[in-house]
């Protein structure tokens, strides 16, 4: 059982919400001004996830890098593992925006796709 203070990001107010966890349950959520905040605080406490954006090296392209993103938020704890894979990857031009570059990256079940179109030189 532990307690955590979460800053809500759903709206600009940024309520500080106290969450008490017991295993996979949220026993207490207080400090929120609305329901959306409570929902956010719960998911943040139990399964914090983040969208990841970065860039992958391009070979033979008009730009040396293509910007990429994960197709879905990944567990916060996996961020640096996924970044490591992204940083070691290379892709050949041309790259289309939306093209899947890394499937099921670091076993997260999430893909990494290009967010930019990079033509060949």
């Amino acid at each position: 059982m532990d307690e955590k203070e979460i800053t809500c990001i759903v709206c600009p107010i940024g309520c500080k919400i106290l969450v008490r966890r017991n295993g996979t349950l949220c026993e207490l959520v207080e400090g929120n001004k609305c329901k959306r905040g409570a929902e956010y605080a719960r998911s943040e406490a139990l399964d914090p996830r983040r969208m990841l954006t970065s860039s992958i090296s391009v070979i033979g392209g008009k730009w040396p890098l293509v910007s990429v993103k994960t197709t879905k938020p990944i567990p916060k704890d996996n961020i640096f593992t996924v970044l490591d894979v992204i940083q070691k990857a290379k892709v050949k031009a041309p790259v289309q925006c939306g093209q899947i570059l890394l499937k099921n990256v670091a076993d997260t079940g999430v893909d990494v796709i290009a967010t930019k179109t990079v033509g060949s030189t």
């Binding site: 940024g14 040396p64 970044l83 925006c97 930019k116």
Partner: protein, 416 residues
Amino acid sequence: MINHDVDIAIIGGGPAGLAAAYSARNQGAKNVIVVDRNDWLGGILPQCIHDGFGVEETGHSMTGPEYAEMYIDRVNKMGISCMTGTMVLEFTKNYNIIAINKQGLHKISTKAIILAMGCREKTRWHVMIPGDRPSGIFTAGVAQAFINLYNIMPGKNVVVLGSGDVGLIMARRLKFEGAHVLGVVEILPFASGLPRNVVQCLDDYDIPLYLNYTITCIKGRNRLESVTIAQVDDTLHIIEGTEQEIPCDTLLLSLGLIPENELSKTVGIELDERTGGPIVDQHFETTIRGVFACGNCLQVYDTVDVLSLGAKHAGQHAASYALNQFDQVRHSIPVKTLNGIRYIVPQRISRSGVIQFTFRVERPSQSAVFHLKANGKDIFQKKLPWVNPANMVEIKVELSDSLLKSVDHLEASLDG
């Protein structure tokens, strides 16, 4: 001189210029040209590889490049000419545009002009940081371009000055790319970026946020070696004895943006010194007939969604003007700002209808009420439960013909 004859010329091919172009074509303008000084379209968006763009507009959170490509595709499909690598040099007496690129000098005659030049970043000298003048000092946007576009890492041990969104995003980006981000320094008692970014860029990575702090000295004869930070009191004066030296090799400056209006000044377009951009009416028309302004050169927006909305209106009205669909008579009344309002756009009202105002407040407040008054009487009121200068407020107000005929100015103010 290569001559062009168009209906609408748009200076700047970033999100504002592209949205305006798209909207102008939709409104029926036939010959629309977009001119941009970079070799690419999208302005600053291609280097903004983080997400959060287009949430309001599309329901999806896109990255900057994706948002840019969405508009570039639309612009291409509509047959809008785009001249990249092209810099507008000046306007002629008749408001023809002289531009230059590798093909030569161009003269663009046009019926309407849309200014969409965006903005530039404040430099070290806007806040006069004393000390040495070493390498390793970058404005956040320039560092972002180096990392994301050109595959160049500016440094390894980084301090960020300014907690606006660009600074926060860059703190995280540098961390992701293996730099040690030693802290974000902010002179105000609160971060000026979105709470979401404070959480997802700083808290998530244990990057310290020094609130009520500023940089008092830069050290480094050749490359940056350290910065000295010190606490400030509530009048923003340094508190003696609170100095701390932070060894580092890179300083990112995220001090704020300045609307880019050097071109506007050359033709005598009246600027609002509070926004840094042109004074416009609700059609986004400046004080010069046929010249419209939108995007960050008009006012610095918080989100691209609100920016694009405004740019689309500007494009629509510019097209109407070019197609002679405007009323000839143009009398407008000013909107004056009183206590609590830092600035409001549009600054002038020239016709009745629904006006989309955007404004910023002077101070944070948790229970403010916005008033629009005519002849001292409230014609519109709205409770704003939570406002601060870092968040632009949008408000729709309907103004009738009879009202506008009976007053010579309106007043915007904030209570509480």
